[in-house]
Symmetry: C2
Subunit: 340 residues, 2 copies
Amino acid sequence: MKIILDAMGGDNAPDANIKGAVNAINKIKAEVVLVGKEEIIRSKIKEFYGKGMEEISERLKIYNSTEIIEMEDQPTVAIKQKKDSSMVVGFNLLKQNKGDVFISAGNSGALLAGATLLVGRIKGIDRPALAGILPAYKKQLILMDCGSNTNCKPINLLQFAQMSTIYIRNTFGIDKPAIGLLNIGTEETKGNELVKESYRLLKENAEELDINFIGNVEGRDAFSGKIDAIIADGFTGNVFLKTTEGLGKLVKKSLKESLLKNIISKIASVPALPAINRFSKTMDYKRYGGALFLGVKKPIVKAHGSSDEKLFEYTILQAEKFVENKAVDKMIQAFDKNRN
Amino acid sequence: MKIILDAMGGDNAPDANIKGAVNAINKIKAEVVLVGKEEIIRSKIKEFYGKGMEEISERLKIYNSTEIIEMEDQPTVAIKQKKDSSMVVGFNLLKQNKGDVFISAGNSGALLAGATLLVGRIKGIDRPALAGILPAYKKQLILMDCGSNTNCKPINLLQFAQMSTIYIRNTFGIDKPAIGLLNIGTEETKGNELVKESYRLLKENAEELDINFIGNVEGRDAFSGKIDAIIADGFTGNVFLKTTEGLGKLVKKSLKESLLKNIISKIASVPALPAINRFSKTMDYKRYGGALFLGVKKPIVKAHGSSDEKLFEYTILQAEKFVENKAVDKMIQAFDKNRN
């Protein structure tokens, strides 16, 4: 297996990308191909580790590319014009089967545009979408769409439910993942027009499409551990995701400040630190890795733009698992079957 | 001042309502009028405190009503037909100036319908809406609309911004409260049609309407303490609110379980408990009380349906402050001025 990593994308590129790859390489069996400016990558490795790349691992590779898609670049234009950018080169390697999965923390719009333009949609799927992984009680919660489709139709939400089901079944080994529709009440009559119509469509088609649709889910029950995936249009899903992130930040900051408020609480908190760290780890959505862009013909992982070396490491481990489980192939088969 | 409390509304009524009123009475100057079945209320007080109501405080009163609007009642029908319900009687006392604020934890739909039908909208306001209070970094965050208007137009969001401004200025003493529009990115071009058009309207009218509009706000920055109010349609606002509640529950549960995981962490966490409790208190959105229904001619507070005695106590304290600051009168004046 070959994992293609955009070495030049993200707020902390290329340092965090390179360090993340080095951290991950001995925890995986796959090769990691760093796509970017070869000279820079080689000199950074020398600087960080005092030795050459080949001495670190023979499974660590470089594929040279000379351009970079910047955060402020207009997505579609950048994908079309920057032909030798790390992102476009990465996509082309993936398309030509010179790699099995592509990871990038770069310009999100360009990543989604490139995925559709260069790799292509799976037949039968109208809108690919981002499936994010969030923490929930003693397990993870998949959220789809995390924000790639601001305006959705009910058919899109139905397909998100199908894709989530196939992904979760083949990655987490849950045979009948519980899929909920994000809404503001559990009753059928609740919500705006989009969710009401989506509810109807999901209910009607759940059995035939092998979706374990459990109905409407409110945000307050989303993290209970009883739901495997939450389906929403990209606007609502993104509000949900970022609210979770925002409150997570507040929790960390407030807990830290409460513990360090004065010298007494500082000393008193020392014995409790292992437990508190265990708690912080549970709450850290980042440790699950990036978001998967489902609905395109090859595995593509959108790493967080602010990824540090630890997060790149997690995302690489996650990507290997994602490829191993062949969720994308199974998605292609399932949607092909539905069409016949 | 007289605070009218629906003694029969809410999941824990009438016990929690009565206990909350008794807890609050010596912390406020106002009278509290318990509206509900007099016989039941009197016997409960006797049971809980071993003495009569008059012996507890002469500012604690009862106003008898014989019916109850149940959670499953159809809102508008219930308001029209159950004329002697605690909720309708409470509204009528408020309307007839026999009280200054009405608090209820009962059927939300009926409360909102009754507020509009029996008390009436302020002239110039198209849609009254619920303003909720959430925890943020070292301060509170107002969220409007929390869920009373599932389908909104841009003009509604503009009015929510005006109402929030007047409310915050007159309750928290912040002269120019920072008002943000809930969106999935900070750029002007982000979001669905409603938020894009609302952004334009807010920007155009902010100066004239004395709104300190700071632009789009993402959920991840909402709790930073830099924003005083977040404006959203009721669907998106309710998703935001309930996500906050859901994650809050997960945080509490996970922290508790981490601390109690084994005997070592149990013992180790004891000295840190004051700090951890301080943290839990910061995160508890309930301690801010209920949500205010702004845009109607009199102060109305929607207490949480699951209110316990502590929460009723908080909500009564909050209601007294709300009346003292005359935010509703100032809202009536401001919208009257805008119309001329």
